[in-house]
């Protein structure tokens, strides 16, 4: 099934979207960082968000699990609207996994403990069960042998794969990636991207902020281009990369292609 077909079939089935943003606005002080953002992501859809730095793409996905608070508009995740209701927020965060640019593993816990912390304390899972689950995901990201080491003893690529496994241990319906490869050496980028491709193949709903255009071409159903806090253009990867409509996207593509 092609990306375009996935989109239309989701619309046809009239299934409620996994994530929907309606006229979302956000300011940092007087800086208007998100301007009237509308975005709807269907279940199983893979969206790549790109754009120059400072365009608000990280802020956008951080609003989805309320690491940042939006000030105007509606954000609905899996049918639950984000509001000041802490119960609703906890419910959303249980279903949404996140991977950060700087890994953010817990340095005082072993790899295994990093992965079992949330299942034990949030999902109320017995330790044995949580450890079995963690080992399953660590095997899937191909580092089960590191389970009893500490994050400081692992390479950057390994740490990021642990971070992915840690998020997956909560068995989320949606995964958010905030520039997961930007802090990595070139040879480690590939191992993390491979893990993400593998995850995309399982049908996980994903939003990735990334500059890895190869990854976008390979897995994305849709690419969203943001600039100065607004969504400028979106569409299937071929259209976005081969036939950009706006000057801003043309400029951005020429800059990142020159960089490669």
């Amino acid at each position: 099934m092609s990306a375009a077909e996935t989109l239309t079939s989701a619309v046809k089935a009239n299934a409620p979207p996994a994530i929907s943003l309606e006229r979302v606005n956000k300011w940092f002080g007087s800086l208007h960082v998100l301007r009237d953002v509308n975005l709807s992501v269907a279940h199983g859809e893979r969206v790549v968000v790109c754009g120059p730095s400072g365009s608000g793409k990280s802020t956008l996905i951080r609003c989805i699990n309320r690491l940042e608070e939006h000030q105007e508009g509606r954000i609905t995740v899996d049918g639950i609207e984000l509001s000041d209701d802490l119960k609703a927020l906890d419910a959303i965060r249980r279903e949404v996994g996140m991977v950060f640019q700087s890994f953010n593993l817990f340095p005082h816990l072993t790899i295994l403990e990093n992965c079992t912390l949330a299942p034990i304390w949030v999902r109320k899972m017995p330790k044995k069960e949580a450890e079995a689950l963690a080992m399953e995901y660590l095997t899937r990201v191909r580092i089960p042998e590191q389970a009893n080491k500490y994050p400081g003893q692992l390479s950057g690529g390994q740490q990021q794969r642990v971070a992915i496994a840690r998020a997956l241990c909560m068995q989320p319906k949606i995964m958010l990636f905030d520039e997961p490869t930007s802090a990595l050496d070139p040879e480690m980028i590939k191992e993390v991207l491979d893990t993400m491709v593998m995850l995309a193949d399982t049908g996980m709903t994903m939003i990735c902020v990334t500059h890895e255009m190869g990854f976008a071409r390979q897995v994305a159903d849709r690419v969203v281009f943001m600039d100065r806090g607004e969504i400028v253009e979106q569409g299937v990867p071929e259209t976005i990369f081969n036939n950009p409509q706006t000057e801003r996207l043309k400029l951005f593509l020429s800059q990142i292609l020159r960089g490669h």
Partner: protein, 400 residues
Amino acid sequence: MSDVPADPRYARQAPRRPLRLSWSDERVRNIVWQALVVGGVLAVFYWLYRNTSYNLEVRRIATGFGFLEREAGLPIAESLIEYDPSMTYFRALLVGVLNTLKVAIVGIVLATILGTLLGIARLSRNWLLARIAGAYVELVRDLPLLLQLLFWYALLQALPGPRQALNPVEGVFLSNRGLKLPFFRWEDAHSWAMIAFVLGVVGTFLYRRWARARQMQDGQPRAVWPIGAALMGALPLAVWWALGAPFQPDIPFLRGFNFQGGLTVSPEFFALLLGLTLYTAGFIAEIVRAGILAVNQGQWEAAQALGLPRGRVMSLVVLPQALRVIIPPMTSQFLNITKNSSLAVAIGYQDIVSIANTTLNQTGQAIEGIAIIMLVYLTISLSISLFMNWYNARIALVER
């Protein structure tokens, strides 16, 4: 690993570098400098020893600790154990050690609590709270402790006499004789209830461990506080009740020029405790603040993104990491409270320094007196250090 035959080319130790006898060899320099330093220290001690024994001989002063068995004849205002001036110097010094420990331990507990609250308050999003905490820290850190002690003592001395004592609540009197609190006649039943309480604390701790272990098996978290309340609250009450529930209130009242009955907190102890606690809390507040700030914001975000509630983020992720930064400088502050309690001398609280001073004045055994003071502080300080270092090592971070 071990069943793979080792490649003989790589199965060898790092070679030992032979020592080159030259001043440009780093190891030679290290050895020479260390030898010089150790030799110098030994020479100084030898000189001190020779000088002292020579001077003692010239002045015909007998050394030794025999004086400890003699009658002290020195009055002590407050004591945790039974004491009167007809007892020995040893007993008097013991009273001093206990007085030092009393103010140090209570001070450490109070300063830690107050300092932690202040440190968190200084990070609060509430503007007023953060500023007040900040102003407090600056004020107490910038004024000498001795000045602060004299201030509190003068303030307590400036209170009215017993006849005009402040009486904020029925049975509580604040005067220049100190703080008088209502209490009750202590009987055996109270001691047993106290023992029951201590057992309750131990029991609660054990229950918490058990609950945590059970949770790891079946996933169900168990609230510790109901069992804790039962063991630490209901159990001592039940013991007290079973032993006849004795309760004879002992409320202070004015008779003549002073109060009778009740519990007394002397102005000297009160001023010293107040000064030490308020002063050290300022430093502890900064240590706690630094510790929490040292934990990367990303740790909060990662833990919250996993769905952990704020309280759990603090207890499972942030505090364990902040403690590593907090513990070593906190140890120094605990040592500082203990050692600064010797400023008690300035306001007439009879701690070990005060009593040892009087002792050496009365007996002329200056070296023994100073040695005893040093021994006491070394013992207390090394105990604190050992405990805190053990705790620090237990929670140390594995980096590589």
